[in-house]
Symmetry: C2
Subunit: 199 residues, 2 copies
């Protein structure tokens, strides 16, 4: 039957495009949409458009926000002299759950990866360097994942930033090598924060 319904196949494809959604799950979700009331489906479609419309990158830290500046960058009680550099927005959320960290963030939106053809120019590194120009930043904490690409990106950044006379540290103990920061528990993250070392 499905082969006759173009619109169903197209909807399945849309779901299947999402990270981590397999073909069977995509079919299940497409059917769930078809079984919704019309109003519920419209709400769903609007939620997609509204999220895209209202959420953009914070011009300072490149985190996602629906305000002019993100809540961290606009928070005067945070320590703006310490910048924690992370790979993606989910990593900011993971760090924020720790509550111990009072500095601010910078989101790279990726890691340097020759395999996936990601060059430093494609990451938000220019924007990070611009933030370092006003001499108020004292420390950069590199919190990329502890895998090969995350380490390489950290090394690359350390080489760029250390000559500016800014302290550069790296998250350390607790994050298992090869693991994704987003799946680290809060205790492990806290340990990693405390054990950060000069690079």
């Amino acid at each position: 039957m499905a082969e006759y319904m173009v619109a169903l196949r197209k909807l399945e494809e849309q779901f299947a495009r999402l990270e981590g959604v397999g073909r069977k799950s995509a079919t299940r979700m497409a059917f769930a949409v078809l079984e919704m009331e019309n109003e519920a489906a419209e709400e769903f479609a609007n939620a997609i458009l509204e999220a895209k419309r209202s959420i953009h990158l914070c011009p300072v830290c490149q985190n996602m926000t629906d305000r002019e500046l993100c809540p961290v960058c606009s928070d005067l009680y945070r320590d703006h002299s310490v910048i924690c550099v992370v790979t993606d927005v989910k990593a900011v959320m993971a760090m924020e759950r720790v509550k111990d960290f009072r500095g601010v963030y910078h989101v790279l939106h990726g890691v340097i990866s020759p395999m996936n053809r990601v060059t430093p120019e494609q990451l938000k590194i220019k924007e990070l360097l611009t933030r370092l120009e006003d001499d108020t930043v004292k420390e950069i904490i590199l919190a990329t994942n502890a895998d090969i690409e995350g380490n390489a990106t950290a090394m690359y950044l350390a080489h760029l930033i250390k000559p500016l006379g800014i302290k550069v540290t790296r998250l350390a103990y607790g994050i298992p090598v090869g693991a994704d920061l987003n799946y680290a528990d809060e205790y492990t993250l806290m340990q990693a924060l405390e054990g950060r070392r000069d690079m």
Copy 2:
């Protein structure tokens, strides 16, 4: 951060509403949408609306279709005197994969379930009885699942249809082909025993 972005939370909720999608998956999918290009997100939203707009229930068998009649009901080479009654649209797809069945379908869109407050009136039973009025139907195959609610629904339908002088059959339930007897659950074994045949 997420707590500040209403639109992100709303989109997460939309994904979490879909059958079988947990909270973490919903968050992951919502982020995937945010990371899409604007055009891709619009395409996604449109796919939802277009699927809802173009796909409706076949007025005869209640299967989903984007045509006036579904392909099975409009196929003159199918045997319209044999109707296989199934619980949902996915069951039609499962049956169609077998290719052996040349009859037509009727989709109930649920099972009778006092637990979930589903009464016979909420199912497409009226529509099934209407199809039986023109005296061309010779057999009804009840293909609801072999669980308590599926069996109760089959019993209910058999009681309604048999007095009309139409043959009513039920799919054979038992040990799946190729399965190990030792791993069959008791209920399945009981069904298999009850349905035993002379050799």
